[in-house]
Amino acid sequence: MLENFSFRTIIEYLPLFGQGLITTVWLSALSFAGALAVGIVLAAMNLQRSQLFRIPAKAYIDAVRATPLLAQLYFLYFGLPRLGFVLPELVVGILALSLNSGAYIAEIIRAGILSIPRGQVEAGVASGMTYVQRMRLVILPQAFKVTIPPLLGQAIVLVKDSALLSLISVSELTRAGQLLASDRFMPAEGFITIAAFYLLLYYCLKGLAGLSSRWLGLQPARSST
């Protein structure tokens, strides 16, 4: 049993956990920004009429969705040096998370844009708007609204996925737990503490998702995490 559970050790290691938590937060935020960029480009390509854009975007999205993040991470981690890019683990990790989440975000954005009723577009055409005007003034503002809750859902997934970066020795939150487990042979203290920190992040993002859908006048979010 856990009768030797040592809160003292946890408190002693708290600075380490704090650092890990901060690293997890900012690297997730950075990866999310990267993923948004990747996702917007992919979604735009996917919505073109020309197969020239659509096929590569679809192939990329399918390839990412049908393979595990860990394999993608190792692909970049062991593969990039081969191409002559010797990058720090942290950069490789952020790159992997951005490229992975980007594929999911592309689908969220695409679904958001396609959810706008056809009549809206036709009304735009009838009012003599150009393609860009229709996009900017009619479709995107409405699509933006419906994508916010699922995007926050994806942010939750991303934060959890970032735990995998500990396996390429990025010193984020999970790594801090592993250190405590291996230095002091205290896996319980290490892993329960980081689980609590992850839950904290989870409830923050979940609360935000709930609030956002209320603000935006959508139905209460059932985030698909």
Partner: protein
């Protein structure tokens, strides 16, 4: 150079097959167990008992709110402290089953809630028992909503099984990791690993999409 590497890779194909077998077995066992458990939990979650429902809800939140890697570490390193000795395979199965059950529970609960109350009332008025109502009226209608995300969940499960390589199980990802120590071509090795997963997952993704279209399932509940 590349030729030598290819030869060396060809030499490790029995290992790769074993890894793929391990991945499929892990996924399959926890898929079956997780589905059964998930349906049970989902039915209990919507069963009307406040206490049971909120306990399940809290557990599901706990599992959804923590990374799977951390859950595996918790199970593998901490259950032994409670006197439960586990090998890595059992720990992996427990972690994957629990994860699948939690997600499937929410999918099933959403499906059951989507069935109009009138249906249940009609069944009640026809004198059907609780079990008959669930089996003959509610579940068949709920399946329309449940099926597409359920298949999507299976894809997630197969992919998540790669994380158990962290506790030393020789699954497909671990095989890639082992091989890359010998054949220093990460691009090629993990490309092949990716192909392995793709072959297993892609048909399921296609199936999920087709089901989604056929069942006319509503708005973006599926996440592959």
């Amino acid at each position: 150079m590349i030729w030598q590497q290819l030869q060396s890779l060809a030499g490790s194909y029995p290992l790769a097959l074993r890894g793929l077998g391990m991945t499929v077995m892990l996924s399959l066992i926890s898929l079956v167990l997780g589905t059964a458990l998930g349906f049970g939990l989902g039915i209990l979650r919507t069963g009307g008992n406040r206490l049971i429902s909120s306990v399940i809800g809290a557990w599901v939140d706990l599992i959804r709110g923590t990374p799977f890697l951390v859950q595996i570490f918790l199970i593998f390193f901490i259950l032994p402290e409670f006197g439960i000795e586990l090998d890595a395979f059992t720990a992996g199965i427990i972690a994957l089953t629990n994860l699948a059950a939690c997600f499937i529970c929410e999918i099933v609960a959403a499906g059951i809630r989507s069935v109009p109350t009138g249906q249940v009332e009609a069944a009640l008025a026809s004198g059907l028992s609780r079990w008959q109502r669930m089996r003959q009226v509610v579940l068949p209608q709920a399946m329309r909503i449940v099926l597409p995300p359920l298949v999507g969940q299976y894809v997630l499960l197969i992919k998540d099984s790669s994380v158990v390589s962290a506790i030393g199980l020789t699954d497909l990802t671990r095989v890639g990791w082992l091989v890359v120590q010998r054949v220093p071509n990460g691009l090629l090795v993990f490309f092949l690993v990716g192909v392995g997963y793709f072959i297993v997952c892609y048909p399921l993704i296609m199936l999920a999409r087709r089901l989604e279209r056929r069942m006319g399932a509503a708005h973006g509940e599926v996440q592959l």
